[in-house]
């Protein structure tokens, strides 16, 4: 089995690295988080021009036909750069939904816009009572006279304020956590009856709580088969977790390397901090745990690419391990930077916050460990 990246994947990685190195220092990134949308449309256009937004879409849909491994490469580099543009929401989440379940007409209407950067989409699954159980869908969708009426609430929807279209999970039958009866809809963001409460997340990104008050959606905006949306829900979550895990791996790499660099130059008790064995071992542990998380990310991504039966279980193991490792690496990065690690001036603090958010999103360590051993 060949476990090395292809030449194309190495080139892709290089092009992202160049972009991050040349155009995405932490001050630029932090300045973007204070803007209205929380990211740069100009950068987004550049990602489109470089083909990054097209990578994961099938060639027949106007994409480049990349695999989840290509997405993993990109997300890892985005993680190193602490990128704030809505790649996860628009390309990974909405892109997966459309690619997996979209009709020819739906794909044609949306994918070209996602790929050229002119459209942004997001996916709304979680609700106020979700906690960690994403199949617990209580938003209702009732069909009458050629249109569905959607009512209910969605919580912490990523980049909803920038989205032209929101792909929404709703219930056409059954209740609460039933797998049957979940349906997805493509909802125009400016639909009547759809209201938004926007807020930043702790890492400086953007999310919204949405209220659907009898929002009318044309029947042709049903995405996939009515009532059979559970498989799509799982697919979206899995692809999202894979992408987030790769991002976390990239962020952790920056943190363990920054920590090594800092302890080499910081002197206390007439020695560099890196001379103290207890700190050497701590940094070694950070690297060891990081290495395991990185390996499992790639394994799970390959299983997903192959469509293996082992994928689901491995993704539960992955999100558990990513959450646990992110906490360990991020907490120790701050600890070993001492007071400096607590300041917003150093980038460590910002990577710390992003990793904390990744752990909290799409099921935390306890939840995924429970599913893994179940």
């Amino acid at each position: 089995m060949d476990l090395s990246y292809t030449e194309e994947q190495n080139l892709l990685r290089n092009s992202l690295q160049r972009f991050v190195d040349n155009s995405y220092d932490i001050n630029h990134r932090n300045a973007l988080t204070t803007t209205e949308e929380g990211f740069s449309r100009e950068n987004w256009q550049q990602y489109a021009d470089l083909g990054w937004l097209a990578m994961s879409f099938a060639e027949e849909d106007g994409g480049i036909g990349g695999t989840p491994v290509d997405t993993q490469v990109m997300m890892e580099e985005f993680g190193k750069g602490l990128i704030v543009e809505p790649f996860l929401a628009s390309i990974v989440m909405a892109g997966t939904a459309l690619s997996e379940a979209g009709s020819a007409a739906q794909k044609e209407a949306l994918i070209p816009g996602l790929v050229d950067g002119s459209l942004i989409a997001t996916v709304a699954i979680a609700e106020p009572d979700t906690h960690q159980e994403f199949e617990r869908i209580n938003m209702t969708a009732a069909l009458k006279g050629g249109e569905y009426t959607l009512s209910g609430q969605k919580a912490v929807v990523l980049n909803a304020q920038s989205a032209n279209h929101i792909i929404v999970a709703a219930r056409t039958s059954g209740q609460d956590a039933d797998h049957d009866g979940i349906s997805f809809f493509i909802v125009a963001a400016d639909s009547k009856g759809l209201s938004r409460k926007d807020f930043p997340t702790v890492d400086g990104l953007r999310a919204s709580d949405l209220t659907f008050d009898n929002v009318k959606v044309p029947a042709e905006n049903l995405l996939g088969e009515e009532g059979k949306g559970y498989a799509l829900l799982t697919k979206i979550l899995n692809r999202t977790i894979l992408a987030l895990s790769a991002e976390a791996v990239g962020a952790m790499e920056v943190l363990y390397k920054d920590t090594i660099a800092y302890t080499k130059q910081r002197e206390q008790f007439d020695h560099a901090l890196s001379d103290f064995q207890v700190l050497k071992h701590r940094m070694t542990e950070m690297f060891v745990e990081y290495s395991l998380a990185k390996s499992l990310t790639l394994k799970a991504t390959m299983l997903e690419t192959q469509g293996s039966e082992e994928t689901q279980r491995t993704i539960h193991a992955l999100k558990y391990l990513i959450g646990k490792t992110s906490r360990f690496v991020a907490q120790n990065a701050v600890q070993l930077h001492g007071g400096m690690g607590m300041t917003e001036e150093l980038r460590v603090a910002h990577y710390f916050k992003r990793l904390t958010v990744i752990d909290a999103m799409f099921g935390n360590t306890d939840y995924h460990l429970e599913r893994f051993v179940a």
């Binding site: 106020p128 709580d209 701050v334 007071g339 607590m342 300041t343 916050k353």
Partner: protein
Amino acid sequence: MAHRIRWAGFYTRPAIHLDQEMARNSTPPQIPFGVTMLAPILMNYGTKEQQDQFLPSIRDGSVNWCQGYSEPGAGSDLANLKTRAELTEDGKHYVVNGQKIWTTLAHIAHWMFCLVRTSSNGPKQEGITFLLIPMDDPGVEVKPIITLGGTHSVNEVYLTDVKVPVDNRIGEEGKGWTYAKGLLVHERTGLAGIQNSVLGLEKAKDNASTVKIGEGTLLDVPAFRNKVGALEAELLALEFLELQTLAQVSAGGDPGPESSIMKLKGTEIQQRISELNIEAAGIYGSAWGESDGPGFARGAMGGYLGTRATTIYGGASEVQKDVIAKKVLDLG
């Protein structure tokens, strides 16, 4: 015979009861710098004039103090501090130059008690002097440091040719380390925040009990419940350790290096409790602004970010372990 410091009522059972009541009623925390940190120093080492000048306004809370110890090159290695104080020719003033950092609440303080270097000869710990510096001196400049989560609590303090009367020196020149060190032992027991954690854990349980999971709540989920239980067990032990230490202090003893156990475990527990709150917040754990999530959700992340400092300030956990290894276990 070594001077035995009197701790009056600062670290006694009534003081703990006060902490408990304040925590229970969610009052703002007591700012420790005047009341529990400087006051004992003044009462033990200050002159009658200094006591008369400073104690009444500490007692009635009208004057705010900050602590000028840490410097950019003197964190865990506090004795490495470099801020210089030189006597003027007439011997009436010190002229102070240097920089302090992580100075909590310097931006609202009227005065700073400060460790400065008056001699560079001999061991680092000698040659350190304890001075009281007015913050309104034109040579004092305070710059904010924004910490994780956008909080402004700590500062950099630049001292440029600040003229401090010799009368503002506590005790003898060159003995400042001795005065400060005794206090650090007590500061550690305070930083352990045990009473706050006891209450904090109760609040975390209340928060979790509002989170519906399946037929029950988050408190019924074994993984979560076991974490709560482990914290409760450790807090039971830590509370009793605190009482034992207080009994020792009441009997005229000193908490000694064992106070490092409390600092080490107490701060770790504070951090673990803050993690419970993020977990309880679920999908809203990441929200920073006003979301539709439960009321505790936003505070949860702020608490988690803020408590990262607890294992760094007042002697990092790594330093506490060194103290225990050296002073308790005789590990060199």
